[in-house]
Symmetry: C2
Subunit: 450 residues, 2 copies
C-alpha cells in the first residue's frame, strides 16, 4: 500500500455516542451555582434557559457515554467523518523529525467544528417544542453553524454578533442570513444589557461576554424561546468529543499515537473535543500524552487567570461557573481570533488544568499569523485566526523535536478555515498587525473585585 497523507473514515465509522469525560474524572468539576442562593444548579434549574436534554447533559457526571440521536447523526453525515491529515508538507518546511497530524474540521460546510454542537442543540430544542432560539457569536463561527442547524431542524434564530466581528467579517453575517437567521451587532440597543454598556462605553467593540448577556436576555423575554451557547459549557464539550473519537480511530489507521495533542482555546469547545477521548487513556494510566491548550497572549485566562467562581457573561445573567478566569468584565484586545476573545474557561478544562492533566501556552498574534501563512503555503488550507494558535503551538513542538533530535507525534485540531477572515491576512501581510500585551495591572483590575 502506498503511503497515505489523509486517513478517511466512512459514514458507518461516525461515532454513535459522545464521550462524557466527567464520569471518569477522579476530581469532578465543581458544580455551577445559583448566583442568588449559591446552591448547586440541578438540571431542572437550567430548564428555563436550555433545552431539557441539554440541561441534563450539562450536569451528568455519571454516564461516560451518551447516545447520539439518529436524527443528529444523519445530519452529521453532511460533513462527517472529517479527514485526519498528515501535514507532510509542513514537516518538510520545518525540517523536523516530528510527525504532525491535524484533524481537519474546516471541511464542515460552515467552515468549523462548531456544527458538531449546533446540530444536537437545535435538535434537542426542536424536541422540546421550542420554536425560537438565540445565541451569541464572536468570530461568527458559532453563529453560522447554528444558523445552518436551526434551518436544518426548522427553528427561528436570532444571533448577537460581537460588533468588532460584525464589522470585520461581513461575509459571516451574510452566511447567517443566507441560512435564514437574524443577525444583530452587539452591544445593541435591543436589550437592557446592551443599552447599559453602550451608555457607559459608547465605542465599545463588543465581546463574547456582552453578546451572551444580550442573547440570554432576549431568550428570557421571548415566549417559547431558549438560549444556546457554542462553547464553555459541559454539554458543548460533550458534543465536540466526536472530533477526538474519530481522530482516535484515524490515528490507529496511521499506526501512531500522539505524544502531544493541541487545540486552540477560547471557551474550550474544540480543545475539549480533540483532547478528551485521548485524555481518557492518560487518566486510565494506559498512555502518557501531553495536552496543550493554545490561548492568545492577549486573553490569557489559562496561563495568567485565577481559578474561581465567575459569571459566563459580562452582565451576570448566567449561573456562577467554576473557571480559570480574567474576570467577567475583562475586555480583551481586538485580535482577529474573535472566537478566543473570552474571559473564562469551561469548568471541566479548568479542573483538568488545576489537576495538571492538561497544560496551557499563550501565543502572541504575530506568531500565530506567521504560522498560519506557513501552513497555508504548505498544506494549502488557509486557517482561521483561532486555529493558527494551535498551528503555532504545534510548530513550537516540532521545532523542539528538531532541536532534541527526537521523533515526536503531534496531533492538533484544525478547528476551521480562514477564507472568511482574509482581511486579517491582508493586514498581516501589509505589516499592519501588532501584538497586544496584557499587563498584570489589567488582570488584577478585573479580578480585583473578587
Amino acid at each position: 500500500m502506498e503511503k497515505r497523507k489523509k486517513f478517511m473514515l466512512q459514514e458507518e465509522d461516525i461515532p454513535t455516542q459522545w464521550y462524557n469525560i466527567t464520569a471518569e474524572m477522579k476530581n469532578k468539576p465543581q458544580p455551577m451555582l445559583n448566583p442568588q442562593t449559591k446552591e448547586p444548579m440541578k438540571a431542572e434549574d437550567l430548564f428555563p434557559l436550555f433545552a431539557e436534554e441539554l440541561s441534563r447533559q450539562e450536569v451528568n457526571q455519571t454516564d461516560a457515554w451518551i447516545d447520539i440521536p439518529e436524527e443528529v447523526r444523519e445530519k452529521y453525515k453532511i460533513y462527517r467523518p472529517t479527514p485526519l491529515v498528515r501535514a507532510t508538507e509542513l514537516e518538510k518546511a520545518l525540517d523536523t523529525p516530528a510527525h504532525i497530524y491535524f484533524k481537519n474540521e474546516s471541511v464542515s460546510p460552515v467552515g468549523s467544528h462548531k456544527l458538531n454542537s449546533a446540530l444536537p442543540q437545535a435538535y434537542y430544542n426542536k424536541m422540546d417544542g421550542t420554536t425560537n432560539i438565540t445565541t451569541e457569536t464572536g468570530a461568527g463561527q458559532w453563529g453560522t453553524a447554528l444558523a445552518f442547524a436551526a434551518k436544518a431542524f426548522g427553528l427561528e434564530l436570532a444571533v448577537y454578533m460581537v460588533k468588532i466581528s460584525y464589522e470585520q467579517k461581513p461575509y459571516r453575517r451574510s452566511l447567517m442570513q443566507t441560512w435564514g437567521a437574524q443577525v444583530i451587532a452587539s452591544p445593541s440597543m435591543s436589550t437592557k444589557a446592551g443599552r447599559k454598556i453602550i451608555t457607559e462605553h459608547p465605542n465599545y467593540q463588543g465581546s463574547l461576554g456582552t453578546a451572551i448577556s444580550e442573547a440570554i436576555e432576549l431568550a428570557m423575554q421571548t415566549p417559547n424561546c431558549k438560549y444556546t451557547l457554542g462553547s464553555v459549557l459541559n454539554h458543548v464539550a460533550l458534543h465536540q468529543t466526536i472530533i477526538g473519537l474519530e481522530a482516535e480511530k484515524q490515528m490507529e489507521m496511521a499506526e501512531e499515537y500522539p505524544d502531544v495533542v493541541i487545540g486552540c482555546f477560547g471557551g474550550g469547545s474544540n480543545f475539549s473535543g480533540i483532547t478528551f477521548p485521548f485524555l481518557r487513556h492518560t487518566m486510565q494510566g494506559e498512555r502518557n500524552t501531553r495536552f496543550v491548550a493554545a490561548e492568545p497572549a492577549s486573553c490569557p485566562k489559562l496561563t495568567r487567570g485565577r481559578f474561581q467562581y465567575d459569571f459566563g457573561d459580562e452582565t451576570g445573567y448566567t449561573p456562577l461557573i467554576p473557571m480559570y478566569t480574567l474576570g467577567h468584565k475583562f475586555a480583551p484586545a481586538n485580535i482577529h481570533a474573535g472566537g478566543l476573545r473570552y474571559h473564562g474557561a469551561g469548568s471541566i478544562v479548568s479542573q483538568l488544568l488545576k489537576d495538571g492533566l492538561v497544560e496551557a501556552t499563550a501565543i502572541r498574534q504575530l506568531e500565530t499569523f506567521e504560522a498560519g501563512v506557513l501552513f497555508a503555503q504548505t498544506e494549502g488550507i488557509v486557517p482561521a485566526p483561532e486555529s493558527t494558535h494551535a498551528i503555532a503551538a504545534a510548530i513550537r513542538e516540532a521545532k523542539q523535536a528538531k532541536e532534541e533530535g527526537k521523533k515526536k507525534v503531534i496531533l492538533f485540531n484544525l478547528s476551521g478555515h480562514g477564507l472568511i477572515d482574509m482581511s486579517a491576512y491582508d493586514q498581516y501581510l501589509a505589516g499592519d498587525l501588532t501584538n497586544h500585551e496584557v499587563t498584570d495591572e489589567d488582570i488584577s483590575r478585573f479580578l480585583g473585585e473578587n
Copy 2:
C-alpha cells in the same frame, strides 16, 4: 450496512491516468490554427507560450490515457479524492423521485476544481526549467488555484484579475497574495493590450478575454516565463477528467448510473471534467446518458453562439480556436458568476455539441441564486455563483422527473463553494440582483465581422 449519504474513496483510488477523450471521438475537434498562416498548430508551435508537455497534451488525439506524474498525484492527495454526495436533503425539499448526486469539488483548499489543472500546469512548467508564469483569472477561482500550485512547485506567478472581480472579491486577491502571487487588476496599464482597451473604454470592467491578452503579453516579454490558462484548452479538460473518473467509481459504490450529467459552463473545464469519463460509455454505445452544459443566459455561446474559428482572447494573441463563440470582442454583463463570463467554448466541447453528444441550457441569474440558496439551506454548502448554474439545471431535471413521476439519476458537479462570494448573496437577498438580457443584435454585432 446503513444508507450512505457520501461516497468516499481512499487515496489509493485517486486515478493514475487522465482520460483524453479526443483519442476516442469519431469526429475529432478541428485543430487550432496559426492566425497568420492559417496552418494547424503543432505542439512545437505552442512551446513559446506553454510548457512543452502541456503543448503535446494539447494536440494529442491518439492516446486515450495519459499518466499523471507521481509528483502531481502526491499533491492531489492534499484534497483528493473528493466526496460524491447524495443530495438527500435537496431531494426532500423538492419532493422529487429523482436521485440527485453531486461531486463535491468545493473541498479543495482553494475552494474549486481549478486546482486539478493548476497543479500539473505548475509541475510541467517547473520541469521545463521555467521560473515565472502568468495567468488571468475571472472570478478568482483559477488564480487562487494557480497561486497555491505555483507556491507548491516553487514558481513565481503574476495574475491578471478581471477588474470587476478584483473589486467584488477582495478576499480572492488576499488569498492569492497569501500564497505569494502578484495580482494586477485587468485591464491594466502594464501591457499594450490593457492600455489600448482602457484608452478606448475607460470604464471597462474587464473580461476574461482581455485578462488573457495581458497575461500572454507579459509572458512573451519576460525571460523564462510561460503562460497558463485555467479553462478552454484541451490539456485543461484532460486534467479535469480526474473529477469524472473518481465520480464513476463512486457511482458504482452507490450502485447507480446517471441518466443525466450536468456541469456549469464558462470555457468548459469543470463540465469536461465531470462529463468526459461518462461520455466515453455513451460514445461506445454502452450507455445512453444525457450531458447538459449550464451556461448563463447573459453569455450564451453554446445556445446562441456560432461555431467558427475565433481567438481565445480579446486582443487576438492566441491561435485561432474552433469554437462556439459570441465573438472575441463580446463584453458580457457583470454577473456574479465571473468564471462564466467568457465568449467561447473549448474546441472539444464545441465539436461534441455540434455532433449532438452534449446539450446546453441557458439560465438567468435570479434562477441560479434561488437554486444556490435552496442548496445552501438544504445541503449546507453555499455554492459558488458559477456552480449555482449546475444546481439550477439539476433542479429543473428533478422537477421534470416529479412531473413525469419517473425516477431519474442526476449527477452534477459542484465546482466550488461561494464563501468568498457572499457579497453576491447579500445583493440577492436584498433584492438588488437582476437578470441581464442579451439581444440578437448584441450577438450579431460581435459576430458580424466574421
